[in-house]
């Protein structure tokens, strides 16, 4: 299948923080001719219903994504290593905040 070229402006990935101190979550992407316009577009596209208080934008081509073909090699080896979860330890008495 022929790739359909995006003829619009560069794409930016939008990350939003719902409240101060919480991690940024990926919300989606927007077009923007430069970072100011991209920021306005992100605001207008993803912040219409009180979704959050802060925005991060990253040019899509700056994101390094893992290749789906590598998934087996990358992720499967950790499938059967349950001992890596800290579930085999008994909590010492008196330790409250672990």
């Amino acid at each position: 299948m022929e790739n359909i070229k995006d003829t619009q402006w560069p794409i930016w990935e939008v990350f939003i923080q719902s409240q101060a101190g919480t991690p940024y979550k990926h919300a989606g992407s927007v077009h923007g001719s430069d970072k100011e316009i991209a920021m306005q577009n992100a605001r207008d596209t993803y912040f219409r219903r009180n979704e959050g208080t802060s925005i991060w934008l990253v040019p899509t081509d700056c994101i390094v994504a893992s290749n789906p073909d590598d998934a087996e090699m990358f992720f499967d080896p950790s499938n059967d290593k349950a001992y890596r979860h800290p579930t085999f330890y008994t909590m010492p008495e008196g330790a409250l905040n672990i």
């Binding site: 619009q8 077009h31 923007g32 430069d34 100011e36 316009i37 306005q40 577009n41 207008d44 219409r48």
Partner: protein
């Protein structure tokens, strides 16, 4: 002029501007140059309709005739509308819409910054809420003015053309009459004529960054303070008021 009458006229003027401009911006829905801009323009339209709603509700209260904000929006005749002529001008191309927004938002920014200190508590509260939206509208319009003005030859040319063509509607923003005098003396609203200096200074800053020139002084259009409009308002109202005129008191 009686206090109530002056306050009503002031509030209608303040309410009619965002009502009509909101309608104009809404016309961009599905037609903007890019999806994101479509959302931006219609978001602004909604900000304005929201502002018009609270202002016209307050106007209806001052009027004291048991009208609602909808009665004032949908059942008033053209000659009773007091919005500035600039907001009823057609959208034209994108540069034209941006130039209109720049002139209006810069004016509103200065006006509402002062309206926040109004001795009228309702107007002050409305201004506090509106100023945040207006700051964004101004940023949007000035960012675009700079990008188009300082862009390719074609962009620059279209932007300058829009700035020039709308210039004759800017004088009206600063017209001040008996109502404004009375309201500003009581500390209820700013005196529009006092805002022109700052408006021009800030406009020149934005235009020079955009490599655009300020139009030369020329004949300025006038009329809206007395309910006299350009041919365009009638079409907007026909569109907006059709349902209530054809089916009086129809409910949603």
């Amino acid at each position: 002029m009686k206090h109530q009458e002056a306050l009503l006229t002031l509030t209608l003027r303040l309410g009619d501007n965002p009502l009509v401009l909101g309608h104009r911006l809404g016309e961009w829905c599905s037609k903007a140059p890019i999806l994101e801009e479509d959302l931006a323009l219609t978001n602004m339209a909604l900000d304005m309709i929201g502002r018009a709603e609270v202002l016209l509700r307050y106007a209806a209260l001052i009027e004291g005739k048991n009208h609602t904000e909808d009665d004032l929006a949908y059942k008033r005749g053209e000659r009773k509308f007091y919005n500035h002529l600039i907001v009823e001008q057609p959208n034209g191309n994108f540069a034209f819409t941006i130039a209109r927004q720049l002139y209006v938002s810069l004016y509103e920014f200065l006006y509402y910054s002062e309206l926040m200190n109004s001795k009228d508590e309702t107007l002050s509260a409305i201004a506090h809420k509106a100023i945040k939206e207006i700051k964004y509208h101004l940023k949007h319009a000035s960012d675009w003015t700079i990008r188009l003005g300082d862009g390719t030859d074609e962009r620059h040319h279209k932007m300058q053309e829009a700035i020039n063509e709308l210039w004759m509607f800017t004088g009206e923003l600063f017209e001040s009459d008996e109502v404004d005098e009375q309201m500003s003396e009581l500390g209820i609203a700013p005196y529009p004529a006092d805002l022109i200096g700052k408006w021009k200074t800030e406009l020149i800053d934005i235009l020079s960054e955009a490599k655009l020139s300020l139009p030369e002084e020329s004949y300025m259009q006038t009329g809206s303070r007395n309910g006299i409009h350009t041919e365009y308002l009638g079409y907007i109202l026909a569109d907006m008021q059709y349902l209530q005129r054809a089916y009086p008191n129809a409910k949603w």
